[in-house]
């Protein structure tokens, strides 16, 4: 047993030289590391988490010299790698430790990668994908056998996603390659920290530590309020009507970050600000995931140096180091979750009073309610949980092919290794066998996959990749983040601008104009996954609509909202945001009723479109989508029909040409929690959700091979759409487990079935308030206005086609 004072001494000394004092949690983490423990450190941004995790490996580096790779530092964003390398290096130098600390990400040049292989640095900063890739090469034991520690930065970002599962599998491999390996994670505060720790550490001899940093920073959440008596839009998603107050807020600041929820919103805000303040051109930046990485890095650098008055960003800037010159943070639209809001607010530098400030700009009236609710929830310390994923066979299949591409693997040992992760702790032998069959035979042994080759079992019993070509192709597809095929956007004259989803470009024709990366561009042509463009001077353009990025309202926020409405009804509510929209709330009360805790508001309105049913359970958009499809299906059991569905965070809409009369008994039957999963899945057979979900799974599991942006057509012959693949598997291999997984993922993640279940149970106790407003009420209107059409039909495909044919022929007769 070492004496703590002695071993921590070099760090204490360095801290003192900097004029710092180590915080209690930092000392605790250093000591735990020296004691050989693993664990998770959580605290607010900017509290010294990184040094808490980095201190241990440095101290042991001082006492036990050795060569080879000692520490792996995993970061979720490659954009963070540079900053991490420099801050880790500064601390190492400070302690007089002569370590090479290098990064390795997707853009590290081949020459450096080669050098890293022959002369490994002591510390490698990398991403989960690059780690997977490293494990797909041979001699992993030589490469990782001397590893002391893996440190996972921003673990909360990975947890709950397939990237997290991918990392869990890689960590399980590393635990085998390097016995005694210590694993440490850094996380923001979450509602489920113990699960976060267990998922990171997997099964190990001793329980891991959970080390708590200083309490959260003070956070002031305010809303941009409309002028008194100003009409506030009932629905919308841009929020640019509040441009003027935002501009004056920006003018008062030295440097600001303006966060939006979608890339399209970012483009529009960037353009609107620029139009209003042409002289800001040099000091206004735009940062989102589709913009060329080099450009993004320049912007990040500029932010650090204080070169920007304002940078408009999406979640692409949620993570990472603080930008100390930034003194104001603005959030356009609701943050949808408390954790996310706190994280964004934490991007700005520390004011002397230790206060972070964030100005929320509502895009429509009801978002003011969300902002007030977020402030309440924050004060009460209600932070969302991020549940870890389990049994993702697509990720497992990819991981096994990676191992097969490297040193190969032994089935029994690897089964045990995989089961040592949190994600696959309950993996049953049948599912394991199926996954093995999937990568070796294409599917179950008895089904028809002649000539399939990917992984083969050698005479020594080890599983290895069949050919080098296959190994190379697999390496190109490693990763779990999927998107629509990415199209590179380039100038005709050369110069890469960024990437955009194929779906958007497919809608454009040569000559069409669109707004991208803050530029007005004209499409010239699309060739081989590259869209060639030139600058355009036109003033009207389309804005690309990117998929994803729309989080549902968290339960914690939704509950606060209902609570606020109850207080308002009781005349007790003093929140300025609520008072600002009181005319709207009054109108809702006059035409219908205000939603309340313990009550379910149901509205029925007729329009030229048909008969609308609006229901407001306040369970978040995803759960409402599922509920809408469930209710439509159950309604359809009584009388066949086609329904158009819409959902938002507050409620759902069902529209049909004719809806049956609904009394309370009938409604309660529709909302019954009994047979939920079966009914939901049955309703989805008619829907497209499972098919859509299968896209990502097919990509991760290697069922479809996508080309790469800007890279030739060598792989063109191998392309098949995931939809075609889905239909083919359903027909010829209906028991395919990845089809099951798609259905399960739709239930768990896309529809949040557990939240639906919870909601239905609560609703069965709730009082039902039935209203028949003549017009759409203020709560119904946003649903009508932002309807995302999602067809769920209980008619068979043939009936639908017949109905469509009849309509088409009728229309044809008229012309």
């Amino acid at each position: 047993m070492t004496k703590p004072q002695e071993t921590l001494q070099p760090l204490e000394k360095w801290f003192a030289e900097q004029g710092w004092v180590p915080a209690g949690f930092q000392r605790q983490a250093w000591q735990a590391y020296l004691d050989g423990q693993s664990g998770l450190i959580h605290s607010a941004t900017g509290s010294g988490k990184s040094l808490a995790a980095w201190g241990g490996p440095l101290l042991s580096g001082l006492t036990t010299p050795g060569s080879g790779l000692r520490v792996l530092w995993i970061t979720p964003l490659r954009a963070l790698a540079n900053d991490t390398v420099s801050s880790l290096s500064a601390a190492a130098r400070g302690l007089g430790l002569n370590w090479r600390i290098e990064k390795r990400t997707g853009d590290t040049p081949g020459s450096i990668r080669n050098k890293q292989r022959t002369h490994p640095p002591e510390t490698l900063v990398t991403t989960p994908e690059s780690l997977s890739l490293l494990l797909s090469y041979r001699h992993a034991e030589k490469r990782f056998g001397h590893l002391d520690a893996v440190i996972v930065d921003e673990w909360h970002e990975l947890l709950g996603s397939k990237r997290g599962v991918q990392l869990e599998l890689c960590l399980a491999r590393l635990r085998q390659l390097a016995p005694g390996l210590k694993i440490w994670g850094l996380s923001a505060t979450l509602g489920n920290l113990e699960q976060a720790r267990d998922a990171l550490l997997g099964q190990q001899a001793q329980p891991g530590q959970l080390i708590t940093g200083p309490a959260r920073k003070n956070l002031k959440i305010t809303a941009a309020l409309p002028q008194a008596n100003a009409r506030f839009p009932w629905a919308g998603h841009l929020g640019t009507h509040l441009l003027e107050p935002v501009l004056s807020y920006l003018e008062d600041a030295y440097s600001s970050l303006l966060f939006t929820n979608t890339r399209a919103q970012a483009e529009i805000w960037f353009e609107s600000i620029l139009k209003a303040r042409m002289d800001w051109l040099e000091t206004l930046g735009l940062h989102h995931g589709s913009i060329d990485r080099g450009l993004r890095e320049q912007i990040e650098q500029g932010l650090r140096q204080g070169d920007f008055r304002c940078v408009v960003a999406t979640s692409s800037l949620d993570l990472g180091v603080d930008f100390s010159p930034v003194d104001r943070v603005i959030q356009i639209g609701s943050p949808k979750g408390i954790a996310r809001l706190a994280q964004r607010a934490g991007r700005c530098g520390h004011q002397p009073d230790g206060m972070s400030q964030i100005l929320c700009v509502p895009t429509h009236a009801l978002e003011l309610l969300e902002i007030a609710a977020a402030r309440r929830a924050w004060q009460a310390g209600h932070i969302e949980a991020r549940p870890a994923l389990r049994n993702c066979l697509d990720v497992l299949a990819q991981h096994l092919v990676s191992l097969a591409s490297g040193d190969g693997f032994d089935a029994q040992a690897t089964f045990d290794e995989v089961r040592s992760t949190h994600a696959f702790a309950q993996l049953d032998p049948a599912a394991w066998q199926w996954t093995l069959d999937f990568i070796t035979h294409g599917g179950e042994v008895l089904s028809a996959y002649p000539d399939f080759q990917r992984v083969v079992k050698g005479i020594d019993g080890r599983y290895r990749i069949a050919t080098r070509t296959l190994a190379n192709r697999h390496r190109m597809s490693i990763g779990t983040i999927t998107s629509d095929a990415a199209i590179a956007v380039k100038y005709q004259s050369g110069g890469h601008i960024g990437t955009v989803e194929e779906r958007f470009i497919a809608r454009l024709r040569p000559g069409d104009r669109f707004l991208f990366a803050g530029l007005s561009l004209e499409l010239i042509r699309v060739r081989e996954l590259v869209a060639y463009v030139k600058r355009s001077r036109a003033s009207r353009q389309a804005v690309p609509h990117w998929q994803g990025g729309r989080l549902p309202l968290s339960s914690a926020l939704a509950d606060e909202m209902l609570e606020l409405l109850a207080e308002y009804t009781a005349g007790r509510c003093k929140e300025p945001e609520i008072l600002a929209i009181s005319p709207l709330l009054e109108l809702q009360n006059r035409w219908s009723k205000l939603p309340q805790p313990g009550c379910l508001l149901v509205e029925r309105t007729d329009s030229r479109e048909g008969q609308h049913l609006f229901i407001f359970p306040f369970a978040g958009r995803l759960a409402h989508e599922g509920l809408a499809s469930l209710l439509a299906w159950r309604l359809g059991q009584q009388s066949a029909g086609t329904f158009s569905l819409a959902a938002n965070d507050y409620g759902l809409e069902i529209l049909s040409n004719e809806l049956p009369e609904l009394d309370e008994t009938l409604l309660r039957n529709l909302l019954s929690p009994d047979h939920l999963a079966e009914d939901l899945l049955a309703s989805l057979n008619a829907g497209e959700l499972v098919r859509r979900q299968f896209r990502d799974i097919a990509r991760v599991a290697g069922l479809i091979f996508q080309g790469h942006p800007g890279k030739g057509k060598s792989a063109r012959q191998l392309q098949a759409s995931s939809g075609l693949m889905f239909d083919t598997l359903q027909r010829y291999d209906p028991d395919h487990r990845l089809l099951d997984q798609a259905a399960r993922e739709v239930l768990e993640s896309t529809l949040e079935v557990s939240r639906i279940q919870q909601t239905l149970i609560e609703l069965s106790q709730a009082r039902i308030i039935m209203e028949k407003p003549e017009r759409f009420s203020p709560f119904a209107f946003p649903l009508w206005a932002e309807r995302q059409r999602n067809r769920v039909s209980t008619e068979s495909w043939a009936e639908r086609v017949a109905a469509m044919v009849a309509r088409l022929e009728k229309a044809a007769d008229k012309t």
Binding site: F438, H441, G442, G443, S447, A448, Y449, P450, D451, F452, Q453, R454, A466, L470, R473, H474, A506, T642, F643, S644, L655, G702, L703, I704, F705, Q717, L718, A720, S721, G723, L724, M725, T728, L729, R731, Y732, D733, R789, R791, S793, A798, R800, V801, A802, A803, M804, V805, R807, L808, E809, A811, A812
Partner: protein
């Protein structure tokens, strides 16, 4: 089955709901883009797609032959998806299938995927990329400009997204192009498709279950 007949270059052509074209005067059945062997090629490349679609494609041709009793089968290119060198079983299956239709003439226009056609030389008589017959030009890739006569082609696997009321569907289409030609939908089972939007001078005919309907 409700079919629809078009006149092109003085020829009556029937658009079949089975995604083929019937040229009654010449007793010829015209099909485009079978892409045979695609699933086998994908499997060989490590992509696990089950066997089955090819067999269904052949069965559907058999059914059409039985129904229409043609003298000739004319394929508008992309009969095979790629090299079948390593798929001897498939070649044998195709030869055997060909033998069951001994009296039928099999002809095909060379498509971009038919580079490796040598292996099925005995099954099909290959014809030049643009072959003229009875005032019609048969090709695989639709030409960019008007040709000396109306043309028939494939290659695009045309589909259309239809919306009626609150329902949307994606269906294969025949497309009569402004460049005086008709593009056939892909006949093969494992082919997918490309959305063809409405445009001036284009007329699309959707294949919906058992009928063909004009949608423009």
């Amino acid at each position: 089955m409700k079919a629809l007949t078009l006149e092109l270059g003085g020829n009556q052509l029937t658009l079949l709901a089975e995604r083929g074209l019937w040229w009654a005067a010449q007793e010829t059945l015209i099909l485009a883009d079978l892409h045979l062997g695609k699933t086998a090629i994908l499997r060989r490349a490590g992509i696990p797609v089950p066997e089955g679609p090819d067999e269904l494609t052949l069965q559907r041709i058999d059914q059409l032959i039985q129904k229409l009793n043609p003298q000739r089968l004319l394929l508008l290119g992309d009969v095979i998806h790629g090299s079948l060198q390593q798929h001897a079983e498939l070649i044998a299956r195709l030869s055997a299938w060909r033998a069951t239709h001994a009296k039928l003439t099999f002809e095909a226009i060379v498509g971009n995927h038919d580079r490796h056609r040598a292996v099925i030389e005995s099954v099909i008589d290959w014809r030049a990329p643009q072959t003229t017959e009875a005032g019609l030009i048969f090709c695989h890739e639709p030409p960019a400009n008007v040709l000396s006569a109306p043309w028939l082609g494939g290659h695009w696997h045309p589909m259309a997204k239809l919306r009626a009321g609150i329902d949307t569907l994606r269906l294969p289409v025949f497309s009569l192009e402004p460049t005086q030609g008709l593009v056939l939908p892909a006949f093969g089972e494992f082919t997918g498709g490309m959305d063809l939007s409405q445009c001036k001078g284009r007329q699309r005919f959707a294949v919906a279950n058992d009928r063909v309907i004009a949608i423009d």
